[in-house]
């Protein structure tokens, strides 16, 4: 409790300090270049100068933090990836060379591509189907809320929830995991699902799909509602059936949104870490890049060179999406 009290005091202090910074810096600017009460050329000159400086006062703290926490680390990570485990000695591309020949890294790349193929596709698919279906029924909003709910649950919490579903008891005993209970009810043999190499990847992916479908659904549902009624009415008059309307009229009009959902989930998949750490910690051939990177960061006292090299690989995979986003955003600003 005392700790929480401290946190609230610190928070209040931090917020006050921020507010004070903005207030005081503005006040100072108006003192140094006063425009009120002055006349003619001096007033307009001061006003012009103050207006040139003021944006940078507003932007200052934000961009300082962005520089320290995101921009500098990107450069530093690339730099570190060319150095040895302590970050002291330059080793050229040795870390990347090690990586190509490392079995665990190859396994991670392979698994990451599996995740990239499956998770965005299925989450978007389920999201689209659910969005289209719930729009037609009176209790659609309740259904959406319930499907959206996993979005609020942490990856670790979700991992516990699903580990319970995948729980395994030896054959012949009562299964307390739902999946094995269903399998044995149909006469199958219970399996320790998350220890089956290759297939366990899919059991972990289910968790992320379960979480992300709600996100896809919310955004695609809004996009579907944004489709002009006239286009659908025209199709109905022309005698199109439900399937044709959905695939030929509605889907083409929301391609842009589908792409946004797809890329957003793709980026999330590249960073997936918590689920793998909590479920298998990379055992049974389920390793992925983000968890491997975390592993190398602390393994044997920490190998910063290899860790940074793996981070750079993740970054390189993200760059195409980043460029695409920036181009879209600039186009939108101009248009």
């Amino acid at each position: 409790m005392q700790q929480l009290f401290m946190a609230i005091v610190t928070m209040a202090a931090g917020v006050l300090a921020c507010a004070a910074y903005f207030f005081v810096s503005n006040w100072l600017l108006d003192q140094i270049f006063p425009s009120r009460g002055r006349v003619g050329a001096e007033a307009s000159r001061n006003m012009r100068i103050a207006n040139q400086i003021r944006p940078w006062l507003f932007l200052g703290p934000a961009f300082t933090l962005l520089a320290i926490y995101l921009i500098y680390p990107v450069i530093e990570s690339v730099w570190l990836s060319l150095h040895d485990r302590t970050g002291q000695t330059f080793v050229g591309l040795a870390n990347f060379n090690w990586m190509i020949h490392d079995g665990e890294f190859r396994q991670s790349i392979f698994n990451n591509f599996l995740w990239l193929l499956v998770v965005p596709a299925l989450a978007t698919f389920f999201g689209l189907v659910i969005a289209a279906l719930t729009d037609r029924i009176w209790w659609g909003n309740i259904a959406k809320t319930l499907i959206f709910m996993p979005m609020a649950i942490s990856f670790v919490g979700a991992s516990v929830i699903w580990k319970f579903i995948y729980d395994y008891r030896a054959e012949g005993r009562d299964q307390i995991g739902l999946l094995n209970a269903i399998v044995t009810a149909f006469g199958g043999a219970p399996q320790a699902w998350i220890t089956l190499p290759f297939w366990n990847n899919f059991f972990l992916m289910v968790i992320l799909i379960w979480i992300q479908t709600g996100f896809a659904m919310v955004i695609l549902s809004a996009a579907l509602r944004g489709i002009p009624e006239e286009t659908i009415e025209a199709a109905v008059i022309d005698g199109a059936n439900g399937w044709q309307i959905f695939f030929k009229i509605m889907i083409p009009q929301i391609w842009g949104t589908i792409a946004v959902v797809w890329t957003t989930i793709t980026i999330l998949v590249l960073k997936v870490f918590d689920i793998v750490l909590a479920m298998t910690n990379g055992q049974w051939q389920s390793q992925v890049l983000a968890n491997l990177m975390f592993d190398w960061m602390f393994r044997g006292g920490g190998d910063f060179g290899r860790g940074a090299a793996i981070a750079v690989v993740i970054m390189v995979l993200v760059v195409p999406i980043m460029i695409w986003n920036i181009r879209n955003a600039t186009r939108e600003m101009k248009g």
Binding site: T10, M11, N26, L66, A152, S154, D174, L270
Partner: protein, 381 residues
């Protein structure tokens, strides 16, 4: 939409949505129900059987010779194998090879000549002509049908013993400031990017959009080194709450600036122009007009950031450490998964405590969450 009304297809739609909703809620429901079950029942039967009476095999050791009484010239040890719970015994036995050899109410003859009777309410007598000897009593095996039992014991245990209580406070300590601080900083920057004229504005917006997708993994090692050296220089520990607040602020800023800028850029221009004509400065316009008008966007981001910082594991593990006193809820849960992996009564209750706060936020403020998602994705596409 129009064509399918009133057709049999509507029922297919209702049924498939129902199926999907069940699929999506069942896992969480299972967790919640399990966390409320008696831990002995939880370990042996699925949560979907929680409401039905379960059959359990129990082992009971009768008290030793010191508990014997003399009655009608015979020596008697009595007690209750169920120890007061309201289960019903259907069968019993005295050897592990035949744990259900006798139906309840019958009398079994023990190897040493004693007579054992177990009745269906669990009460038993061991009667013998000779005096009992030795401190170890007779083992009695019973098959009992136990009625469903729900309890808050699991929660009591994890809050006290498993360290969940401490972690809960740690999580709050991390999440609240890490939510508030970026909002203020981002709001000023967003206003500058939306409404102030200066060279390089378009480039800065592009930078923010680019930083939106930079993976956290890129930042971990450089920042860990930076924190260690700054901590070393100033003589303070490298892992502090202030450090993690700033880290969460830095990582949350791109989304905050982006969301708020989009929202502010959409506010009507006339309001600002008329205020400017009246002689208001940028600072006054921002504080008195823009901030209050932007409340929905601020709320959206606050919810995002709170969920993200509360649910985060990676940043907390790297910048706050894994010591017993510092662990946040997610970290504690991962630890429990490792150390108490089979104790589902601990895991389910802990997991539910971990997810209850985000769930409350979610159900209470879902409107703002949806609005924020839409502003962040549809517009940005």
């Amino acid at each position: 939409m129009l064509a399918t009304k009133r057709s049999p297809l509507v029922w297919v739609v209702h049924l498939s949505v129902l199926l999907l909703v069940v699929l999506w809620t069942l896992p969480t429901a299972g967790l919640l129900i399990s966390s409320l079950r008696d831990k002995d029942q939880l370990a042996v039967s699925g949560w979907w059987t929680a409401l039905s009476t379960s059959t359990q095999n129990l082992v009971y050791r009768a008290p030793g010779a010191e508990a014997q009484t003399q009655k009608d010239g015979k020596f008697v040890i009595s007690g209750n194998v169920l120890e007061g719970s309201n289960a019903k015994v259907s069968a019993f036995g005295f050897s592990s090879r035949e744990p259900a050899a006798f139906p309840a109410g019958q009398t079994a003859t023990l190897g040493d000549g004693g007579q054992l009777t177990v009745r269906d309410d669990g009460s038993f007598d061991i009667v013998s002509d000779k005096s009992f000897e030795g401190g170890r009593g007779q083992r009695i095996f019973v098959t009992a049908s136990v009625p469903p039992r729900f309890t808050l014991d699991n929660y009591r245990e994890v809050l006290k013993a498993a360290g969940i209580g401490t972690s809960f406070i740690n999580s709050l300590t991390v999440a609240i400031p890490a939510t508030i601080i970026p909002i203020l900083i981002a709001a000023f920057a967003a206003y500058a990017l939306a409404w102030m004229q200066f060279p390089g504005r378009a480039v800065l917006v592009a930078v923010v959009v680019g930083l939106l997708v930079v993976p956290l993994q890129m930042s971990l090692i450089p920042l860990l080194r930076l924190y260690n050296s700054v901590g070393g220089m100033l003589g303070v520990p490298a892992k502090t709450y202030a450090g993690i607040w700033l880290a969460h602020t830095g990582f949350g800023l791109p989304l905050a600036i982006y969301l708020l800028r989009n929202y502010m850029a959409g506010l009507p221009k006339e309001i600002m122009e008329s205020a400017r004509v009246d002689g208001a400065s940028d600072f006054e316009i921002f504080v008195k007009i823009i901030l209050p008008l932007s409340f929905p966007a601020l709320a959206s981001f606050a919810i995002f950031q709170f969920l993200w910082t509360w649910n985060d594991l990676l940043v907390a593990m790297v910048f706050l450490g894994a010591g017993d006193q510092e662990l946040v809820l997610t970290g504690r849960l991962v630890n429990l998964l490792g150390s108490r992996g089979g104790n589902w009564e601990i895991l389910t209750a802990s997991a539910f405590i971990t997810i209850i706060v985000p769930l409350l936020v979610f159900f209470g403020l879902q409107r703002y969450l949806v609005r924020g998602l839409l502003a962040g994705s549809v517009k940005g596409g």
